[in-house]
Subunit: 163 residues, 2 copies
DNA sequence: ATAGAATTTGACATTCTTTTTCAATAATGC
DNA sequence: GCATTATTGAAAAAGAATGTCAAATTCTAT
């Protein structure tokens, strides 16, 4: 996969803001564009460390924010309170099915939803920059588990491990 | 509006877990059911304080978590890192249009999306418990503002007030 | 009603993440 | 090369979420 277009867009944003292109920013953007999925600051920091151990966490944090400002990244939240960052390219999608019992995340995609989103943005006169769409539920494995729990005891403090 | 059904559901959940019904829990649930929209812990705490100043923040926090566990509340996140809680009733919706420039939030609703969500849940074999659907963009007012900024100076540190 | 056991509460402490600060470093323009 | 300005990274600060624990409350069984 070639991320030249992303790098160019970031470069363009940087210079439009009158900022400098630095080695750190390039490396962090590189890692961000090449590391698919939704990851926390910590996870990106780990990856960046492997490329260049001298880069600090603060710089990774700031560069991720910068990527968000540039419209290239999106900050997303599931339900654990940790911010995650994801590529905000038009051909990437931000629809997730999250199991509230085991935390499993499945990426989902439905073109009809994309279409409706654009309609809604038009209706409310918004310039759409991105979206977060999370469906929360119980996956089949956890549902079966819960079923078993419930059949066993009458109502014995219904499993603490709900989170 | 009558929230008896909600109170009953909460009561039922409480006793099913073998917990006690207390005045605090009743008051907090009352405030939660009567205070429409999506609010932070702090906001609920303020409201609860007005009803009964002796109730502590910790208890509000715990009761909101409890309401989530009971499936009556949902924890939602926009992009400021603060958890908000919203009624998770089947006839309430969790679709928001958020302006990333001024922070304005508009509630949106489209029955087609609801329908597709159920289809997707079926497809991936999930028991749907709720969802969060946020569209991020620039509202018309902020878009106009941004346009003006851009035309003025060439690229004078393009407005710090981006958040 | 009342004692005893268990739960709940609320102030405070702790943990964890996010954000700011500031001196040192690096880049840029002259 | 030198002065100016931006950037970096360690550490501190701020802020939110969660844990602790003694005191208060609730429940259950007399």
């Amino acid at each position: 996969m070639d991320n030249t277009a992303f790098h160019n867009a970031f470069q363009e944003f940087i210079s439009r803001k009158g900022m400098n292109a630095t080695a750190q920013r390039r490396i962090i953007a590189e890692v961000f564009f090449r590391f698919p999925g939704h990851h926390s600051l910590e996870e990106f920091y780990q990856r960046v460390q492997q490329q260049d151990p001298s880069i600090g966490q603060t710089t990774v944090y700031r560069t991720l924010k910068l990527l968000c400002e540039a419209g290239l990244a999106m900050e997303i939240h599931f339900s654990d309170g940790i911010a995650r960052y994801e590529l905000a390219a038009s051909d990437s999608h931000h629809d997730h099915m999250v199991c509230v019992a085991c935390g499993k995340v499945i990426e989902i995609y439905d073109p009809r939803i994309e279409k409706i989103q654009h309609e809604l943005a038009d209706k409310y006169d918004f310039l759409l920059r991105g979206h977060v769409h999370n469906l929360y539920g119980i996956c089949s494995a956890c549902a079966a588990q819960e079923q078993r729990e419930r059949q066993k005891g009458g109502a014995p403090a219904t499993s603490e491990s709900d989170e």
